[in-house]
């Protein structure tokens, strides 16, 4: 059953490769996405036991990321039917194949417990996304692609040497050389702290740059800004979570090695730094897709802070995986529609979106309210959990900085988003063929409803999964 997660998308990749028509391909994509979603839900309900060699084990953490990725991918796939219909000027074969390969690798990341394999899968997602960012085939997009590729590759390379350090630590410790999470956790006590520390640093920087923690985030605004809406959604809502999952694995290891304090502090510092950076760059942002990219930087920061705080905040971190992923989907897809309709990403040209695109504009506005942590939307739950546990645990400084940067970000984002959606459409604004249709509006709307639902009611099974996940990340005395 687990294998299906990996294989199904690969089959899909082959099929879409064979399909000649640019109109049919997205439909096939959606079909396979639906299949994947089905398998995912099936797996969440009836989880198979870990594989005997311990390489594959779909634990609670994996489930959360898998769920968010699969759901987001499903909606993106549906969206692609409507969206790519407007982009028939160029073939979408590479796009569809890339997405499916990425999905397969992503599933691999979520189900494996072998750090090496996890790393390989992660690298695969990075590379499979490269051509997608270059979808628009222009100078700006090639630049974005280049930066994305080089920075992420360097980052992942660093992660690799981090893993090597870890492995060498096992050899030095004289225990069975292995990168299986469970073995490592078992032998964690024996590993020499020198290598382990070095490993953690390299892994943190490596996965951090993939995740986009400041100051390793520099590729994000370019890549998100230049890639199509749905690719941006997958990057911000999917890949970010995969990188975060990898960090969670490292975190589990740290817990076992009792070296957690340094790692936690590092996470808090980097997280807050990311939030502040995002705050600075979001104010007066003239390009709304770049703004969304910085918002993504902010939210990985939130997750990092939450993880670093530990305790109750970890629940917030895990829930934020879902909340952030889905909300980012809402924002990127609706902003993609707005971009299509105005044929511009500049907030100087985009005005009165509520008038021109009542649905997309409204969804974008709602997404903005959601992502800035206002109830009744899901991000509120996670962000409030983080804030409250910060204050309850007496980390007043962290809590205060957290709130302040949230405040600045809200102001900056409001000053960008509200003028976009409100008011009159400027006369000189370009008139394009784009109209809101069920296919382009339905997916973001569906995601929005999910975000709202999770904001007022978390289903009991999901709650248990989240709690189990949090339990995996607690200090075991």
């Amino acid at each position: 059953m687990l294998a299906a997660l990996i294989i199904l998308p690969l089959i899909g990749a082959v099929v879409t490769w064979l399909i000649p028509s640019d109109r049919l391909r997205p439909i096939a994509l959606s079909v396979f996405a639906f299949g994947h979603l089905g398998v995912t839900l099936r797996l969440l309900i009836a989880t198979p036991p870990p594989s005997t060699d311990g390489w594959f084990n779909l634990d609670a953490l994996g489930k959360i990321v898998l769920l968010s990725t699969s759901v987001l991918f499903f909606f993106c796939a549906i969206y692609s039917i409507g969206y790519l219909a407007y982009r028939l000027e160029r073939s979408n074969r590479v796009l569809c194949i890339g997405l499916l390969i990425c999905l397969s690798a992503a599933s691999m990341v979520t189900i494996t417990h072998h750090l090496g394999l996890l790393w390989v899968a992660l690298e695969t997602t990075t590379i499979s996304m490269t051509p997608l960012i270059y979808f628009n085939r222009n100078a700006r997009s090639i630049e974005a692609t280049w930066k994305y590729l080089l920075i992420c590759s360097v980052g992942v390379a660093l992660a690799l040497i981090g893993l090597y350090f870890l492995a060498y630590a096992t050899i030095v410790a004289g225990v069975e050389a292995s990168l299986l999470l469970d073995d490592l956790i078992r032998d964690a006590g024996k590993l020499s702290s020198g290598w382990v520390h070095a490993a953690f640093v390299f892994l943190l920087v490596g996965f951090g740059s993939k995740m986009g923690l400041a100051p390793l985030h520099t590729w994000k605004p370019d890549a998100y800004g230049e890639s199509p809406g749905l690719v941006g959604a997958m990057l911000a809502g999917g890949l970010v979570n995969l990188a975060f999952l990898s960090l969670l694995r490292v975190y589990q290891l740290c817990l076992a090695t009792r070296e957690i304090a340094f790692f936690q502090n590092a996470l808090v510092v980097m997280g807050l730094f990311s939030m502040i950076m995002a705050a600075i760059f979001m104010a007066r942002q003239a390009d709304f897709k770049r703004m969304l990219a910085y918002s993504s930087v902010e939210h990985v920061g939130i997750m990092a802070v939450a993880l670093g705080l530990g305790g109750k905040a970890v629940f917030g971190a895990l829930f934020h995986i879902l909340a952030n992923g889905l909300t980012k989907g809402v924002l990127f897809l609706s902003s993609g529609n707005i971009h299509r309709s105005y044929n511009s990403k500049s907030t100087d040209h985009v005005r009165g979106a509520l008038r021109r695109l009542p649905w997309s504009g409204g969804i974008f506005l709602a997404g903005f309210i959601a992502i800035t942590g206002s109830p009744p939307f899901a991000p509120f739950i996670s962000e409030f959990t983080v804030v409250s546990s910060a204050f309850i645990d007496g980390r007043y400084m962290v809590g205060a900085l957290f709130l302040i940067s949230l405040g600045i970000i809200f102001i900056g984002m409001a000053l960008t988003v509200l003028p976009m959606v409100m008011g009159e459409v400027p006369e000189d604004s370009e008139v394009t063929s784009y109209r809101d249709t069920l296919w382009t509006v339905g997916p973001p709307l569906g995601l929005l409803l999910l975000v709202f639902l999770l904001g007022v009611w978390i289903p009991a099974p999901l709650l248990t999964i989240l709690r189990d996940g949090a339990a995996l990340l607690e200090v075991h005395p």
């Binding site: 090639i142 280049w146 590729l149 350090f165 050899i171 030095v172 230049e226």
Partner: protein
């Protein structure tokens, strides 16, 4: 045999300095190619013979020694550039920094516990030093090609470290090496060719239109 390995590692370090010091792209490409070849030989020295090993070695020699350098060479020709003019940091300072980092990496390696059989060999320092060299190139060079070269050197550093693990977990090392080198660098090659088509130049200082005013 393994004593010879150490000599080769010294060679690797020297090549690092060559790459840091030269301004002619073609020359540094060749240097990196040579480095790759050396790295290809190294496993043969430290591991017992096996067909598997032969496969690995030939693969590495092919990619590091031939394919990627050729790719870069073509890109360079198509873009019609010969040398890395005005780097962000002059060659002499770069060399000095390289020396400093090499020294540092020896120190760093000294602090870490080693297996007895690796104790008096310089795998770890060499790998760290190469890694740093790669970084140095990435941060000081302007041309996209030079940056790919930097990435390659960085990879070589990692690869050297991987040799220590080769018998403990071969799959891991190969996966790492192959995925990174083959796929990663290969894709980079493709992207570079795209860049040279877009800009008819590989000067990444042209690739700065995406920024905040």
């Amino acid at each position: 045999m393994i004593a010879l390995a150490d000599q080769l590692l010294v060679l690797v370090l020297l090549i690092n300095f060559v790459v840091l010091g030269t301004s002619r792209l073609i020359f540094s490409i060749r240097a990196v190619a040579v480095q790759g070849v050396i790295l290809g030989i190294l496993p043969a020295l430290i591991h017992p013979f096996s067909w598997h090993l032969v496969g690995i070695i030939s693969m590495i020699l092919a990619t590091k020694g031939a394919v990627i350098p050729l790719l870069l060479y073509r890109a360079m020709r198509s873009a019609g550039i010969k040398r890395e003019v005005e780097p962000f940091l002059g060659y002499v300072p770069t060399l000095l920094l390289g020396a400093v980092f090499t020294a540092l990496s020896f120190g760093f390696a000294g602090k870490l516990p080693m297996l007895a059989e690796h104790q008096n060999y310089m795998f770890v320092p060499a790998s760290i030093a190469t890694l740093m060299t790669g970084f140095l190139i990435l941060t000081t060079r302007r041309k996209a090609i030079s940056q790919v070269l930097g990435y390659l050197v960085l990879e070589n550093g990692i690869f050297i470290f991987g040799l220590l693990l080769a018998e403990a977990m071969p799959i891991m090392v190969e996966a790492g090496a192959l995925l990174d080198l083959l796929v990663g660098t290969f894709v980079m090659g493709i992207v570079i060719n795209h860049i040279s088509r877009e800009f008819s130049s590989l000067d990444t200082s042209r690739l700065t239109s995406l920024k905040e005013e």
